[in-house]
Symmetry: D2
Subunit: 284 residues, 4 copies
């Protein structure tokens, strides 16, 4: 069976759900999952809908153009459709920390993540052996003050050559260039090692230690131009005490970072995230 996932947002009005579901039904689709959200402050409607069609009679391109004509235009929808056949292509950016990389590749190997990983980019050569042990190409693209532009061009070239759909910054210790952010809007996932908006910026564990918090956290979010201020996908926390040193926080935090990043990636792959007004709608 062909499975289509449609994500919609538009101004809220009466009859949208009925129109969409009716359209799918008339096209011999069976809706297996539907979820929606209305942002009442902005009277905006969001919907995620998974339907199954008979591949023998189903014409995907045809379906999309008729949907655009009959439904999307009527409600002035912004919408995307995704098929299950296509595995999104995910690039991983790393630096020297290996825990998130190991975790992602372990899940990838275990079949948890329905993606292709065409390559890993790093500004340091240190983690090459991990990429190799998982048989994934590794590109060392150093970034220094003087090579920033060249590095950016190298990155963009690799991303485009491989048709990368989205990027994961798995503790990549460089600020991503504006051009990249623009090109991959809501398609770059970062892991920040604090429960944002607390402890924005560098060395959040040091700041957490200094403030004497009893809980530390991690946040996966889409990257926007403002540092650590993009739409939050997922957060989680762990308890700490006065007895924990900064090193202890770093170690405890690693487990949080791994899990919170992995959940963010999985939600993105499963088309369960939408972004509106710098916030996410998470259909899970």
């Amino acid at each position: 069976m062909a499975k289509i996932t449609i994500l919609i947002h538009c101004k809220d009005t009466s009859g949208i759900i009925a129109s969409v579901t009716n359209f799918i039904h008339k096209n011999h689709g069976n809706i297996v999952y539907i979820d929606q959200h209305v942002d009442r402050q902005n009277t905006t409607f969001f919907m995620r809908c998974e339907s199954v069609f008979n591949p023998k009679t189903f014409h995907y391109e045809n379906f999309k153009s008729v949907f655009q004509e009959l439904i999307a235009e009527k409600y002035e929808m912004e919408w995307q459709a995704y098929t299950d056949d296509y595995k999104p292509k995910m690039a991983i950016f790393v630096s020297k920390y290996d825990h998130c990389l190991y975790d992602i590749l372990g899940r990838y190997n275990a079949g948890e993540l329905n993606v292709e990983i065409p390559f890993i980019i790093s500004n340091h050569p240190d983690l090459k052996h991990i990429a190799e042990s998982f048989k994934i190409p590794f590109y060392h693209v150093p970034v220094t003050k003087n090579t920033k532009e060249i590095a950016e061009q190298q990155q963009l070239k690799l991303l485009e050559e491989h048709g990368i759909d989205f990027i994961v910054l798995a503790r990549y210790m460089q600020i991503v260039s504006e051009k990249l952010i623009e090109r991959y809007q809501n398609k770059i996932i970062n892991i920040h090692h604090s429960f944002l908006p607390a402890f924005v910026g560098a060395k959040p564990y040091h700041s957490a230690y200094k403030r004497g918090v009893k809980i530390i956290g991690a946040t996966s979010h889409y990257v926007t131009e403002e540092l650590d201020a993009g739409p939050i996908i997922e957060q989680d926390v762990a308890r700490v005490t006065h007895a924990h040193s900064i090193d202890d926080l770093v170690m405890k935090g690693r487990d949080l970072e791994k899990i919170v990043l992995a959940r963010g990636i999985k939600l993105h792959i499963d088309r369960k995230t939408m972004v509106f007004n710098n916030k996410t709608i998470i259909f899970s």
Copy 2:
């Protein structure tokens, strides 16, 4: 606006969502929330749908009979509809522990729970003053070996006279009679002070202490004839250590019991629970 919440379950097949949403749309309703679940093992479909209608043109009874005729019969649905106008009537059963009672009545006072509480029944007189301070009638119905049947009759009489919709056992330390359970199927909510199925029966904190668990829990569930084996609505847990005495567990557990019972009650009031095969579907 009149708000109608419909709960449906039936055999899974193609077109149910489209049929229902289309019906609501044609009756000038606006769907504000829709959620569904398919139990694939049992090919059973579940749906919860909130719609808003114009009260000037909307005829509730008429709507229900046409829905039954055109939709429900076609798919052999079991279904209920609820209006927002009607506040369900909740009876509370207690014994001597007051923490859950205080918590429920505090939330009731704060407007968290959209119910009426016609009365509180207890097999002990101890908590009468709490009922009085919240101005809720309190009936002392003692239960001993010899008075079990009389007590049951008293309870049933009170429940029927007041048109009680569902019952909350807020640490009621008596086993509820079969007749009551039959009469209020999936409408009696109990709080058990362990994470079921661990530590079924009496004194779960003692058992938890003896086993040396590092986590204790509480479970709110619908009461069935088999003790502590009914459909689970909500569970939560708290960390404990070797240093906690049984008394410490009891005290820590009180906070869990309050919250887990309150969440269970709220889900039930909001029509967010369905029961199938001794399990709950929780639309939240």
Copy 3:
């Protein structure tokens, strides 16, 4: 048996634990609990020690003066001793929100909190009936721009007349005066409705909603002159989603506030908190 709890801090050096425990042993005390912490950055030593003495032979004042002479002076300790006989006197400040007040008084009634509550102060008359139902004196001390100083004097007078040991701000919606903070250093416990340092100041649930966080929190802390920047005693969090309105956050937050404040109060009463460098050491 007389139970003495000693809290110590001093510069870290060799032999402190042996000296203290040996002193207690020679005075026929039995140590039932000892915990310590060394802040390595500041080479500072912290200790909490519970000992039991035979009340027939034990002279508390004598014990303290000899301890001061033989032990405390040698190590230049700052220290306090507390007996179990004495119940600390706790004043509660409230405004209009009742959930924390109900929760505290419920725990007080249940015997969870080993304190006396000589009175409740409020800048509004709204919660008087709760104080009355728990038979605790209630003083309405309005605070307006013009009456700030008079109010402060009234508060201080009440606090001193009743020999209040510490103050709990149970969602008191006024900034406490500097004089009060100075007089009750590390003895005023506030509940802030966010996981500090995120969302300092007014309307944290609104800010949390706006930022689109997936976790909200609450923080109990000692009050210092800088707003919401005092030593954190306890924090906890709850998950939220895009579907939660600000009102939902407020309601979910109430449960957090109650529990986090109650834990903070209990730790303070049990002499399990020490403050150093604007951070707490929590012996639990």
Copy 4:
């Protein structure tokens, strides 16, 4: 500096802490951490004490024999001492699941676990490549009905030849032989994929699904002869809903298993666990 960790248990009586700390002080040790617990039901005293000595003047063997003579015999203590110099030797047993193995070896590589891992044993050849990529010897010891005794002998031989201190069953899908359990009492750590005592035995995720729990868990525990009934070291849980299939539970559970096993291993390595009456005391 030489760091010594002493674990003690004995009948509770007055003066133990003073005696021990005084002894360490007189031997020119500086106590950096002390924790104790009294089991009041069994009037048993437990203590964990870390001390630092000047390696130039400190004689470990001498210290131990004098401690035995002067302190341990007086109080009839059972006690162990450990030095920081010695890295315990940990054997890992696996079968086909790789997530716990990857997690342990990743932590080992990152320096989180202060152990040596002389080898990995498996009853299947599947995970050999992982062992190799981390450069750890891998022994395939098949276990069938007929080869059980031979396998046990092979295992014991390997364990003894390498001087293994403790064993980790990282989802090892075989019941360990009595001889092994006897030889490594409280030194075999297993991960069970439920919050024990719920769902003892095989297929706990299937049972959890069937019972409709809202929380799943994992438990690391020392192995005793009774299946899944040994002393619990650590537990943790994760929320699930009606929408999770058994496969979803298995996937969610993997993250729990990794973390709960890792924490159990770390506590054991750091000498923070003691066992008494089939329960653990965890000094953390």
